[in-house]
Symmetry: C2
């Protein structure tokens, strides 16, 4: 199909622009020797961790690929290497994006401090930070589409599995390749998010618990032995982790809609012509087209802010790039969808509003994503009542800070879920189940813009750390702090997009899952069936178990960090007076080892739990499990994300003098720091990992669906009895 | 039916024994004048609150009864007073049980302290406390069954709605009466639990936040102005609240199974003879029979411990009464079920193991209730690793205490949900959907024994408070402390029963709900329907919203209390030196007003949310809403209950010297107190209210189901379009 060149072109534009920005950032000056030295230490720590982590991913991915090869070959009675290859392709794309994005972040941080130092202007500093962040953002969109292009070209056209005339026999191989590609991205995301999340929060909590609370030294003070580890953590967790997380969401949304279209296609073929053939073909390619439009729109949005005149309102500039990308996506989508679908035969598709139906569904996704983001901003920004209430409660001690934050997080679940409910119903009403998948794509179509903005946050945070550790002019720190605080709000908005799209993608994967083992095409998942009900209950408990384990992992690693920092302060009293240099390396090692050790179990759970229960209790139990887990994970993700964000900003609100008579260092501030510390693992480790969890579970189940229905213990027992 | 005399006899035995214990406790001596004075103050505060609260319940119940009368009369075109009357009966039974149980608790508390003072023996003190608690326990079972007896006699036989020959026309009136009876109990429970929960936790947190943390005076110190309010709170929240909560669960479980049986009955009649008529008749009466067995078994279990030789192991004695009641229920059930169902025709019932099938299902309920209780004990008792881990984490500050507690609570969800999943599948496999309802009854059949043991806890807690305030010998306080700490564990076990049975009851109400508006009898609740899916998502957010609002309510009231206590300490410095007497009354007023003011919104939400969404989006949306809310509420209830219990006991563990080098008053203990304070509203306000929430929602929806399907906006719009 000629349309694939559009996809390739979009990917090439994005990756080309990323390369340009990479070179442009790296070509800048690092500043004085002290700054270079600190930046090198952070870079070294980040590289060491990601190299070690990638080695583990490499091993796990290798095992999974071999297992897939054996299973699929065994199942189909012929050597079937394609799904494994697609899986490896997925891991490579995701790993590459994370690696490159993180690499440039460790160059950009010090250049941001240096720009602030030289210009003392917020506008020029913002541009460097955003340019650094844009590499991650553009790599996410570019590599994701490049990989999908390769899947289509190699397996779809090259191997002929997307041949429209034999789709009923080869379609399932093609969807398997797509699922495995998505799973490859998911697994890297899981390791990067969980590993990076544990790393960064162990370091952060460790640094705060002793540094801020006990020794009362400011954040990023060079006397704190955990401070370099904390800055390394920003890069491995908030940059690489976030990037591969959203790449995974993006790929998940796109593949789930393609898989759904192919499934519809196969069923239509089986039932001979329920939907017109050329219409189905269009539906298989449309998700890629829409994603390409979004990617080009993101390039324009980012470029606009980077090339336009400097301003001193970073919040507006950043929003501008996102909203511009969103608007261009919607408008571009309107134009292209029109010519793409015009004149097609819509019989049986459920497209109730003609050829614009899928565009409307995608636009519903765009709008609801924006609304969910705005709701997240309301609950987490200190410009509004909820966060201020937490700040004021801190006056009465840490217990009330925590209590108020929990309450805010819980209450914040309702509004986004109503939006999501409306989006589901409306997009379905417009375009059937395909509309649901398109809404997910819409929400994520301009992901490159949002990730660029999200990545800019940790880069600015790091820049502030370097400024503090190099004892630069306080004005420099003031500039980076301002950039960082804007980053907090954009991060909360980004999380809204991530969880919203993840739930839509998981739900449409669900439908493909049901198609996979029910050849009659009846999509029955009846909750009065006790097996499905039991599955839903156990499934709902799974995100809780997973979250609890992640929190324990962080807190275990943080406790070790606390002990180490205390030990150094005790054994080398010269550190606090500034005479001795703290031992940064040991702290980095503690975070690394803790992360590597603790990330394995939760990652394995997400893969093995649906597999084991499928082979024990069959596909319907797993169907319940997936729904239960999805519903419960959405709630927990919103609850933890918003509570954590609100605590963080409540603390910042007190620091900014928002609560009269209580400033930095007061008892109220100490209480707010407790809230912030409690929120750290919730918002940066648990919340973001939950949307990966539900998508890995759905994808794994989808891949194994046929096997579940053929081989399961419960079915075997019941044939034995009867 | 002659079987109704068995029910009446069981109720009479329980209420008679309650009366005996009431008189026996009240006849004991109160001790010295100071003790009498304090006890009178507590009693006065409790009475004032419950009188005021009951006035509000009276008004709300009156309005609901009138509305019901109008709606039902309008719907059926004839004056229909019966459901309203049944509703009022339900409120009366629940209100009476709560009132009597609380009344005797405010007499028993001081008599427990006096017994400890006079005998200095833990065995005799335990007996007084348990005797006091048994009044609440026996009233729960007794009044619940008495009310059900009246519903059967008045509406079933008297009005003839349970006439087996005209069941297809009158059956729905009878189930409406049953639902309304259950709703009456639920509404009182909601007010008592929520109002009492806010009252007690506002006082408790207020007392702790200033008293323990700032002024460093011990718990229950008479110098703390909030201390009387704190003790009043134990009575209105932990006694009256708990009693009407479990009465509601008990009634909910019984009525849901009867309603299900009648629904089956009506469908079988419509489809002419799917299940044999005499079999269906038995199924309608069996739940009452099994409940009666459990009630008599509970009387025996309690009496055994009260009459047996004194021991010095209160934990074993209390467990003995519960386990004895459980064992007698199972054995008695076996004997009576045999003769009850023997020879009946099981065609179409789904009873796969013959006439013992429903007994097996109920026994599955008993066993899984016990296992869920044991799991709760594991996660919350300081004898095991999870709670100890929290205690040790407290050494590194309050943030890690809170973090570890959250992790423990989250992890603790999986095991009970697996048990619940197995119980659902197994009881269904044995006896169909009826089995699910019977499992819920099994779990709660010996509720009178568990409530007696649960109520003993707050009575002992109060006794300790009175001992402290009357400056009795520390040995007295030592005895009551020991009793209180055992009470903590039994409370956690009781919560396991409550949420387990609530979820089973809600699920079987769900089935009756589906029956109610789908006359074809197809119980379809398909999750690939976007309307149901949207309902489930919004439903899942509802318990979060509800919980968040409750926490906010508590924290708002607690903040007021903190200000008041601080004011008194500031304006009357003589209080802390013991020269001035603090102003207890104002604190009591603050708790009362806070509770009354804050309980209305959450209570109304639970009634109005399903109603409004039903009239907007129709019965299928509400079906999704109920499932989503149930699944999400179970998780939150277990999470909050276990996290709260674990924090409480982690603090006690440090006080008992479990963490070497850290004792009462140390920084680690202060951190643990923060955890305990955070957990207080979670475990005593939020958790227990959640199971009432899901049952009120299910019951209200069941009552309005037919209306939803006749009148809803979405349906109206769609007929308008087509």
């Amino acid at each position: 199909m000629v349309i694939m060149f559009v996809v390739l072109a979009a990917a090439a534009i994005a990756l080309g622009y990323a390369l340009f920005n990479y070179k442009s950032v790296k070509g800048m000056d690092e500043g004085n020797a002290r700054m270079s030295e600190i930046a090198a230490a952070i870079r070294e720590g980040a590289n060491a961790f990601i190299n070690y982590e990638y080695r583990i991913i490499f091993i796990v991915a290798g095992i999974v690929a071999v297992v897939f090869g054996i299973i699929f070959s065994f199942e189909e009675g012929t050597f079937r290497w394609e799904p494994s290859a697609a899986f490896v392709l997925g891991t490579s794309m995701s790993a590459l994006a994370g690696y490159i994005g993180m690499k440039i972040a460790t160059y950009a941080n010090v250049r941001v401090s240096n720009t602030a130092r030289l210009t003392l202007k917020i506008g020029s500093t913002l541009k460097v930070a955003l340019k650094g962040g844009s590499v991650m953002g553009l790599c996410v969109g570019g590599f994701a589409l490049l990989g999908l292009f390769l899947v289509y070209v190699i397996f779809g056209f090259g191997m002929g599995y997307l041949n429209m005339d034999s789709i009923e026999t080869t379609g399932s191989i093609f969807t398997q390749c797509l699922s495995c590609y998505a799973l490859g991205c998911s697994i890297v995301a899981m390791f990067n998010r969980v590993g990076g999340g544990i790393y960064t929060k162990a370091a952060d909590m460790g640094a705060d618990l002793v540094g801020k609370t006990e020794a009362h030294i400011p954040e990023d003070d060079p006397r704190n032995p955990a401070t370099i580890a904390d800055n390394v953590g920003d890069n491995v967790g908030d940059v690489a982790g976030l990037g591969s997380d959203l790449l995974e969401s993006y790929v998940g949304a796109i593949t789930s809609s393609i898989i759904l279209a192919v499934s519809l296609f196969m069923h239509a073929s089986i039932e001979s012509g329920l939907i017109a053939k050329d219409m189905l073909e269009k539906m298989v390619f449309y998700p890629l087209v829409f994603a390409s439009i979004g990617l080009v729109a993101s390039v324009i949005g980012i470029a606009y802010v980077l090339f336009k005149k400097e301003s001193d309102n970073p919040h507006r500039d950043l929003n501008m790039s996102t909203w511009a990308a969103a608007a261009i996506t919607v408008i571009g989508g309107f134009i292209i969808t029109g010519s793409f679908f015009k004149g097609a035969d819509f019989t049986g598709t459920g497209f109730s509003l003609g050829y614009l139906s899928p565009w409307i569904a995608a636009s519903i996704g765009v709008v609801s994503g924006v609304v969910i983001g705005a709701i997240a901003e309301y609950y987490t920004s200190d410009a509004y009542a909820p966060t201020r209430k937490i700040a004021h409660a801190s006056v009465d001690g840490p217990a009330l800070t925590v209590t108020e934050g929990l309450a805010t997080g819980m209450i914040s679940c309702m509004a986004p879920l109503i939006v999501l409910g409306i989006a589901i119903y409306a997009s379905y009403a417009v375009s059937g189940m395909y509309g649901l998948a398109m809404a997910a794509i819409g929400m994520l179509s301009f992901v490159s813009a949002t990730v660029s903005v999200d990545t800019y946050g940790p880069i600015s945070d790091n820049a502030g750390g370097i400024a503090e550790m190099s004892r630069l002019d306080p004005e420099v720190r003031h500039i980076t702090d301002k950039l960082d605080s804007v980053g907090n709000t954009t991060a909360a908005i980004g999380k809204g997009f991530a969880i919203g799209s993840a739930s839509l993608a998981a739900l449409s994967l669900m439908v493909s899952y049901l198609y996979a083992f029910s050849p009659s095409g009846s999509l029955d998942l009846n909750f009065t069936d006790p097996l499905i009900l039991a599955g839903a209950l156990v499934g709902a408990a799974l995100p809780y178990l997973f979250s609890g384990m992640l929190i324990e992992a962080v807190s275990k690693a943080a406790q070790k960090m606390v002990e180490e920092v205390r030990r150094q302060f005790r054994e080398m009293p010269g550190i606090l007076t500034g005479q001795d240099k703290p031992d940064y390396k040991t702290c980095i090692t503690i975070s690394s080892q803790g992360a590597i050790k603790e990330m394995k179990t939760p990652a394995l759970i997400s893969i093995l739990f649906p597999l084991v229960s499928g082979f024990l209790f069959g596909p319907y139990f797993v169907g319940g499990l997936l729904i239960g887990a999805t519903v419960s994970a959405i709630m927990l993700a919103i609850f933890t994300g918003n509570a954590g964000g609100a605590w963080d900003n409540a603390k910042k609100y007190i620091e900014a003098g928002g609560v009269e008579g209580h400033f930095k260092g007061s008892a109220a501030h100490d209480a707010a720091v407790v809230g912030d510390t409690v929120g750290d693992p919730l918002k940066d480790t648990v919340g973001p990992s939950l949307d990966i969890l539900i998508k890995i579970m759905s994808t794994v189940s989808l891949i194994a669906a046929v096997l579940f229905s053929q081989y399961n213990l419960l079915g075997w027992i019941s044939t034995l009895i009867h």
